[in-house]
Each structure stands twice: as C-alpha cells, then as structure tokens.
C-alpha cells in the first residue's frame, strides 16, 4: 500500500480553496472575455424572444417569407385544444361552460378583440388574470412569445404547423436568442477604442509614480529616518503611517476630500495667500490620486524595510561607524546594499497591487475628469460592475481584466527573473 505523502495532505486544503475560488474564477474570467455576456443578456441559459426587435430583424433576414408570415401572424382560436386547457384552469365553471357553448370555432386577430368578445359573455371572466389565461390558451402565434428551451420552440412550431428547415431554424434561434454568444469583439473593441491607449498610459503613470514616490521612495525614507531615531519616536511615526492603512477607505478618502475641498484646510491656508477657495482635488486630480494611494501604500514598504534594517547585523554598522562613516555614508554603503532584496520585493509586489487596485481612485476622482485619471482596473470595474445606467458588461469587463492580467504576468515574470527565483528554492534535504 502506498502512503499518500504528508505534503499532499498539507497542500490539499489550500490547493482546493485556491483552485476553486481563485484559479477557477480566473479561468472563467478568461472564458467570459470571449462572450458578449452582460446584464442585458443574463449569465445563465438561453432565452428566445419573438420581440419587436427580433421580428424586425427576421423581416430583414433571408428567412423564407411564408415562414416569416406564419411567425408574425397572431390569432386567438377556440379549438378543442384551447377548450381543454380552459377546462383545466381555475376559471369559474359557469364561465367555462358558456365558453364551451358559445365560442368554439371563433377566431380573433388581436387580444383586444378577444377580450371584447369575452366581456360580452353573460358569465364573463371575473378577473384580468382569467382573461389572460384564456388568451394564453387560445393564442396561436409566435409573435411576442418567449421560450427557454429550444425543444419548447420546436413543439410550438409543430403546433402551429410551421415547417422550417434546419437552416431557417438556426437563423430564427440566433435572432431570437437574447442570451450571450461567443465573440472576439471584446478584444477588437479594446484595441480599436482610442481611450484604451489613454487609460493604459494613465495606468503606467499611476503605477510608476505612486510606486516610485511613495510605496518605495517614501517608505524607504521613513524606514531610514526612523531607524536612526529613539525607539519611542520611531514607534510613533511608524504607527502614524500605518493609520491610513487601517482607516476604512470611504472614511480615508473623505478626510482627503475635506482637506482639499473649497472649505477645507488647504483652501483656508491658501486664503492667507490670497488664493480663492477652490476644489483642489479637481484642480490636481493626478496629485490627488497619487498622494491618496501613496500615503496608504507607503506603510507596507515601511514595515518590510524597517524590519529588514533591524535584521542587518549591528556589527556591520558599528564597523562602519568605527571607520568614521557618517550617517549618509552608512546608509549608502551598508544599509541600502543590505536591503536591496526587500526593495525589489516591495517594488514587484506593489507593482502588481497597484496595477489591480482602484478603490481609492474610485472614491476620490472616480477616474475623472474626462477619464484623465481612469486606470485600467477602474475601467474594468466601471464596465463590469458599476454602470450608472445599469447595463453591466461582464464579458467586456473580463476582457479588460485579461489584458491587465497579461501585463501583470509580464511584470511578475520580469521580477521573478530579477529575483533569481530558482535560487530561492533549494530542494528539501529530507527526502521522504
């Protein structure tokens, strides 16, 4: 009997969750990117509707005219079949009886005419609902009908004695189907839309500047400065810089908004210099999104760099100060070279984080004005999940994500190469 190695047991739970709730969604997203899925097509299943638009499309199509006529022809017929359905319904017995006595054989061309005829009965149907039941039972048309299954539609065709060839039938199902279909249009749209390139450039600028100025730059400065401070002081400043990270994003952005608004602190201070109060966030949208993201993003680097600096053997620093190195030289010659791996790690990790993050931008400028600060992830979010007028384009949103993922993968692979990834992974010496 072969024992299942412990490794698999250890990996299994994490693997199952990651595969099921991370990898599988990734694959599905990729699949969706080749569909026209949106909230107006629905996610599941098919739905065939002989709507006004569909019929207009059929009219213009190559569909056999006779079939087309039969499809749009609408009539309400009291034949044995419709009477049978009526007799099985909850409609009052006396109404049923009267219908069976008086109406068989009659045909009406509109629902309105049918209802008028029903209203003339002595025992007329009590409710609109009853009339509708009769209408459903007697209608002999496809015009306005809906089907969930293709088989139902075939049955309806047989009932109406419409004979359609496979080709016509395929055409009809295609035109009437309101659900999503496979398409590469999303990708074409991404590449042909002139805004894509702008948003792409925005994303690059946003990631580079935020990363350089704050997530690495500012983080490094804080880590270095606090490194040379007393314990109490350094604790205070590090804690201060962590506060934005633990502040709820809604609140955090609101605080910035207060600061930068017409009536905010900046306008107040600038008032002393004779500058009229203004909406500074609108004035400098780029500064806004970089600063807002940066003050949150710096904390991660700060923590990693600080702890990496603390891990530098003190003897190295003592040796350097014995050699008469000033603080700046110590930093340049000892600390920075010692923490180059953490720096690279933060740079790579945060590149990916920034690429996929959009929450603070959404809450502050929401990509505006005029998509000036719209980044790719936000664009995907706007497209797939947040559209003021309702139609959420899941498929196109997925396409945008796939593009982002490709960029992310290129970035990660570059960084992994820089990391000499394989070197990090020695084989475990315990071999069983």
């Amino acid at each position: 009997m072969k024992r299942i190695p412990l490794a698999y047991w250890f990996l299994l739970p994490a693997a199952v969750s990651i595969i099921l709730f991370y990898v599988l969604p990734v694959i599905l997203t990729f699949v969706f990117s080749f569909t026209s899925m949106a909230s107006d097509t629905g996610i599941y299943g098919n739905h065939y509707v002989y709507s006004k638009n569909a019929i207009r499309a059929l009219e213009k199509s190559t569909l056999n005219r006779d079939i087309f006529k039969k499809i749009i022809e609408r009539k309400y017929v009291f034949d044995s079949e419709s009477l049978k359905i009526i007799s099985q319904s909850k409609i009052e017995k006396k109404t049923q009886t009267e219908i069976e006595e008086t109406l068989p054989g009659t045909v009406y061309s509109t629902e309105k005419a049918l209802f008028e005829a029903l209203d003339k009965l002595k025992n007329k149907p009590r409710s609109f609902r009853d009339k509708k039941i009769i209408s459903r039972a007697t209608i002999r048309s496809l015009n306005g009908e809906e089907f969930i299954e293709i088989s139902e539609m075939r049955v309806a065709f047989e009932k109406l004695q419409i004979e359609v060839g496979e080709e016509d039938f395929d055409l009809i199902t295609e035109v009437t189907n309101t659900s999503w279909h496979w398409t590469t249009k999303n990708y074409r749209e991404v590449f042909s839309n002139p805004d894509s390139w702008r948003i792409f450039k925005n994303t690059g600028l946003y990631v580079t500047l935020t990363l350089g100025l704050f997530n690495v730059g500012c983080a490094l400065i804080i880590a270095l400065l606090t490194f040379y401070m007393s314990l109490g002081q350094s604790k205070f400043f590090r804690s201060l810089w962590l506060i934005p990270r633990i502040s709820p994003s809604v609140l955090y952005v609101l605080l910035w908004r207060d600061l930068m608004d017409h009536s905010g602190f900046i306008s107040y201070v600038m008032g002393y210099f004779g500058v009229a109060p203004t909406n500074w966030m609108g004035e400098f949208p780029w500064v806004t999104i970089i600063v807002i993201n940066g003050f949150v993003g710096a904390s991660m680097g700060m923590i990693i760099f600080s702890s990496a600096m603390q891990a530098i053997p003190k003897s190295l620093l003592y040796a350097a100060s014995v050699d008469g190195a000033y603080m700046w030289q110590q930093i340049r010659r000892i600390i920075l070279p010692q923490i180059r791996w953490p720096i690279l790690f933060i740079a790579s990790y945060q590149t990916l984080s920034l690429l996929t993050s959009f929450e603070y931008i959404q809450l502050s400028t929401d990509g505006g004005p005029a998509r000036d600060t719209e980044v790719w992830a936000l664009h995907a979010f706007h497209t797939a999940l947040s559209n003021y007028w309702g139609n959420l384009r899941y498929g196109f949103g997925a396409t945008l994500s796939v593009v982002l993922v490709v960029i992310g993968i290129i970035a990660s692979i570059t960084y992994l190469k820089l990391f000499k990834f394989q070197v990090l992974l020695q084989e475990p010496p315990i071999e069983n």
């Binding site: 739970p13 969750s17 809604v250 797939a384 993968i409």
Partner: protein, 276 residues
C-alpha cells in the same frame, strides 16, 4: 553631538513628510466630537451627538452591534482559515518534497496579478453553484482564498528560516513529519503567524467589495458596508456621524495593532520570500 544633530534633522524631515497625516487625522478627531461650523473650518462646540449610533439603531440600518459582531465573525474566520491553510501549505512548499514545487510557487505569485474585483462575476457563479451566494460563509471562504497566496508566501518565507537540523533531529527522534511540524516547527514561526494574522485581519476587516457584492442581504452586513451606506448619492450626508462610525470601525484594528505591532516589525524575519 553629530548623532544628536542628525536625529533632530530626521525628526523634522519626518514631521514635514507626515504633516498631511497630522492634519487629516487632527480634523478627523475634531469632527467626531464637535458640531461643525458652516462658515469656518473651526468647529462650533463639543458634542457627542455623532455617537448616537451606539445606543440607537439608525433608520434603515441594522444595529451597529450586530454588524460589528458580523464583522468580527467574518474577520476572525478569515484569519483562522488563512492561518491554518497558509501554515500547512507554506510548510509543504518550504519543506516537503513534491513534484512541481517551484511551478506551484511561481503560480502563487502570479495569482497576485489577478484583480480580484474583476473575478467577481466568476466568483459569483461559483458561489451560486455551491449555494453560498448571499451568505457570510461564502464571503469568508472567498476572502480567505484570495488572501491565501500571499499568506502561503509569507509562511514559506518564515519556514525557510527554521534550521533544517531541527526538523532532521525531530525525525531522528522518531517523530512523524506531522508531529515534527506541529510540535517543533510551528512554535518557531509564531512571529510569522502573528504577522500574517495582522495582515489578514486588517485586510478582511476593511474588505468592502466582497461582502457588498456577494452577500448583499442586510442581515449579512459588515461594518465596511454599513459605513459606505452612510454616504448618499445626492442628498446631504451626516458627515459627523459617518466619521464617528469610521472611528468606531477603526478601533478594533487599532487595538489589535497595539497588541501585535512588535511582531509586525519581525516580518522580514521571514522576509515574505524575499531573502536575498
């Protein structure tokens, strides 16, 4: 002398750099306890009215306490799952012999480049299939799964620093690999577990999009959703209230941080896979 001077300079530089934060949070605390003035940035008077949400249920909102409990359950479960699964998987990837180990690790890192928000529709479909859409359990599982790659890498980094000899010695002493892991290795990486628990706690405590999209029922609300709901599209917003709720929301994380921040500074002990 020299040291004293440079210390003062760094304090000043850091102070200037941190100035926006001082201003932001100074006004934050001010606003939470005062009545704002309409024509000045300075408040009119002290008040506790913004804290009324603690004692009364706001209209159209569930009780703050139930919401807080929900959020605690949510974050607690996410942290627990992330800790358990990352510490086992991290160990497997760091220490156990298996095929495709490096590929697995590379894949984990790549997963980070997937914007979780754009996976929402797919996640929604999966949750719906297994019947966990619109339930806190579903969101917990999703959040934990999304946190896992990061957690596994962090834990792997910490495991990497434990001397192999401890492990070998345990095996020689007759312990199974599981016992070795549980009794000998796990205690060596408590700092890692602490750091990871802080990160995943902060992350899940602040999570907004997942509970909002995947568990929209009011009964399942977390504090982040509660807080965001205080904003309004067009009508005037009670900002004092919103900020008070925001402070209330931050308190548990602050407390958590006070108790664990020493550990946070040890994160590089594990290095998060970034050993040079």
């Amino acid at each position: 002398m020299e040291k004293h001077n440079s210390n003062r300079i760094s304090t000043i530089i850091l102070f200037v750099l941190s100035l926006p934060l001082f201003i932001l949070y100074f006004f934050f605390f001010l606003d939470v306890f005062t009545v704002p003035s309409t024509d000045s940035i300075w408040p009119e008077s002290f008040t506790l009215v913004h804290w009324r949400f603690l004692t009364e249920t706001l209209s159209g909102k569930p009780s703050i306490w139930i919401t807080t409990l929900n959020t605690l359950i949510f974050s607690g479960c996410v942290v627990a799952i992330v800790l358990v699964l990352s510490s086992t998987a991290g160990y497997a990837l760091s220490r156990l012999k298996m095929p495709y180990r490096s590929q697995l690790l590379g894949t984990l890192l790549l997963l980070h480049s997937f914007p979780s928000v754009s996976l929402l529709i797919a996640i929604f479909i999966i949750l719906q299939m297994i019947g966990l859409y619109d339930s806190l359990v579903g969101v917990i599982i999703i959040k934990a799964s999304l946190e896992l790659p990061f957690g596994i890498w962090i834990m792997k980094g910490f495991y990497d620093t434990v001397p192999w000899e401890i492990e070998m010695s345990g095996v020689q002493d007759g312990a199974s690999r599981f016992t070795v892991w549980y009794k000998l290795i796990l205690p060596q990486i408590y700092p890692g577990l602490a750091a990871l628990s802080i990160f995943s706690f902060i992350s899940s405590w602040g999570e907004y999009v997942l509970p909002f999209v995947l568990a929209p029922s009011a009964e399942q609300q977390t504090l982040s959703v509660y807080l965001a709901g205080l904003l309004s599209e067009t009508t005037a917003v009670d900002y004092g209230l919103l900020k008070a709720v925001g402070l209330f929301y931050m308190l548990p994380v602050m407390i958590f941080y006070i108790f664990t921040h020493e550990k946070l500074m040890n994160i590089y002990g594990g290095g998060g896979g970034s050993k040079g």
